[in-house]
């Protein structure tokens, strides 16, 4: 996989407009606690829409949202689609794997064509880190920055709406971020989800984030992510039992077999033995700890079914909250 090379950025956060409001959502890195909290606060009333007889709001009426998925996804694409439809947008799903890109069209040519179809928002998933940023830069350079970009996962870089819905879930169950110890467990090397989670946790004031995994699946320099203004502390553990002691939140990651290059792991069985979340390992966390997973789960590899379906699991509420969080993000961008 080759990453997209970006031109140097002018000073400031490229996601924000001249008024400091969110124009695009590309990464949680560099977003302030205030902005992240504002998104979570905005998501709150959207959760209640699902309880209504009419599960639809007019905020994006007449807008066209293009789901541009250059990489396979079912859950993320579906929740973005539901979110946009509940906001009354017209949603166009493009599986680029099976369309023009396969015929050789470049990313920016695809974007130009869709922009010419009066797109108002692109929800982009791409295998290359930086692709959504590249699109945003391209649209700005060609005077079309009224089109909003939402990153739905790019390479190993970021998956900001997943990070936000995880923060929403934690806040729902634990309220105060500043008293928590949170563990992020598993394949961090390939995980854009983990990067977004860690940025958000530290920005929201979590005092201790623990990353747990075999050294082959932790990115080099992961501990430096904690150097964020000296606020949160990031600790690295290779022994899962040690790392889970006394934690409030366990965030499991999917073992990304499809991205593995070379022999990073001896076997799935051995991975489960050392890094699979079993009831016995979970017992080391706080008695009221919650267990999260971004899905799709590999049962019996990173998580035992007894935990995934157990009393501590909030994995399905994560999916439900994800719709409200995506509705909030899309409404905020469309209104800015």
């Amino acid at each position: 996989m080759t990453d997209v090379v970006l031109a140097p950025q002018p000073a400031g956060n490229p996601q924000l407009n001249a008024h400091g409001e969110l124009q695009h959502l590309i990464t949680l890195d560099g977003l302030s606690r205030e902005i992240i909290t504002a998104i979570l606060d905005t998501a709150q009333p959207f959760t209640e829409v699902a309880e209504r007889e009419v599960k639809k709001l007019p905020l994006l009426r007449g807008k066209s949202v293009f789901n541009l998925f250059f990489e396979n996804s079912t859950r993320t694409r579906t929740t973005f689609e539901i979110a946009a439809k509940r906001l009354s947008a017209d949603v166009i799903n493009l599986n680029i794997n099976t369309s023009s890109a396969a015929k050789g069209e470049s990313l920016l040519d695809t974007v130009d064509n869709l922009a010419a179809m009066q797109a108002d928002m692109f929800v982009v998933r791409h295998g290359s880190s930086g692709a959504p940023h590249l699109i945003a830069q391209h649209l700005a350079a060609t005077g079309r920055d009224y089109i909003h970009i939402v990153n739905a996962g790019d390479g190993r870089h970021a998956h900001p709406t997943q990070g936000l819905l995880d923060m929403y879930t934690i806040r729902h169950y634990k309220q105060d971020f500043t008293r928590l110890t949170v563990a992020v467990v598993g394949d961090l090397l390939h995980s854009r989800v983990a990067r977004s989670q860690i940025h958000a946790l530290l920005a929201l004031g979590v005092p201790e984030v623990r990353v747990i995994g075999p050294s082959t699946l932790l990115p080099t320099g992961v501990a430096r992510m904690g150097g964020n203004g000296g606020k949160g502390k990031l600790r690295v553990f290779h022994d899962m039992r040690e790392g889970l002691k006394g934690v409030d939140v366990v965030m499991m990651l999917r073992l990304q077999n499809e991205r593995m290059q070379g022999a990073l792991l001896p076997s799935a069985q051995e991975y489960f033995k050392y890094y699979g979340l079993t009831p016995e390992k979970l017992a080391l966390a706080k008695p009221d700890a919650i267990v999260m997973h971004p899905g799709p789960m590999n049962r019996g590899i990173e998580i035992d079914s007894a935990v995934a379906d157990g009393a501590h699991s909030v994995i399905l509420p994560q999916v439900t909250f994800g719709i409200a969080v995506r509705m909030a993000v899309m409404s905020m961008l469309a209104g800015n």
Binding site: A38, T42, P45, E53, V54, P58, L59, G335, N336
Partner: protein, 165 residues
């Protein structure tokens, strides 16, 4: 400039105007934020049996494309069945009518009420939509440059204030 009326007195007056029309089926719904304060007062004074509903209009505002989503968007909460209900929407000040239009749209997302009435403390005129209050405690006029705002202090006392835009 007219002197500002006593908000607590207006609440009591509005309750007396509404009292002959209240039935056991009457449900009150206050519009965030000032309307909820007035609705709480009316709910108490009129001893309404059904729990008080609250309504946020951010999702149905017609200025979304100009102003975006309002900060502090509040959720609606309908603790009774809207289908077939007799609902009185409560607000502090009626002006253009746009908030009421949004509130009615929001209500219909929960079901089809049998009847909707509107009760306000102050009708300041300058309507931009064909909307009228069923019950109103006071009619006053102000220059368009001024906002009439209801405020509540720490001891839950209500008071009107004029704010230059």
């Amino acid at each position: 400039m007219p002197t500002l009326p006593d908000a607590t007195q207006l609440c009591t007056q509005l309750a007396e105007i509404m009292r002959p029309h209240v039935t056991p089926k009457t449900a009150l719904v206050g519009i965030h934020t000032g309307g909820v304060w007035v609705a709480e007062c009316l709910h108490r004074e009129l001893a309404i049996a059904l729990p008080l509903g609250v309504i946020g209009v951010s999702f149905h505002r017609d200025d979304f494309s100009q102003r975006g989503l309002h900060k502090g968007t509040k959720a609606s909460n309908m603790p009774f069945d809207v289908e077939g209900a007799h609902i009185v929407i409560i607000d502090d000040v009626l002006n253009t009518g746009r908030t009421i239009r949004a509130a009615i749209n929001e209500l219909f997302d929960y079901g089809r009420p049998a009847r909707i009435d509107l009760a306000v403390l102050v009708d300041r005129g300058d309507r931009e939509l064909p909307i009228a209050a069923t019950w109103c405690a006071r009619t006053l006029t102000f220059p368009a440059s001024q906002t009439l705002a209801l405020e509540r202090d720490a001891s839950a006392q209500l008071a009107f204030r004029l704010i230059e835009k």
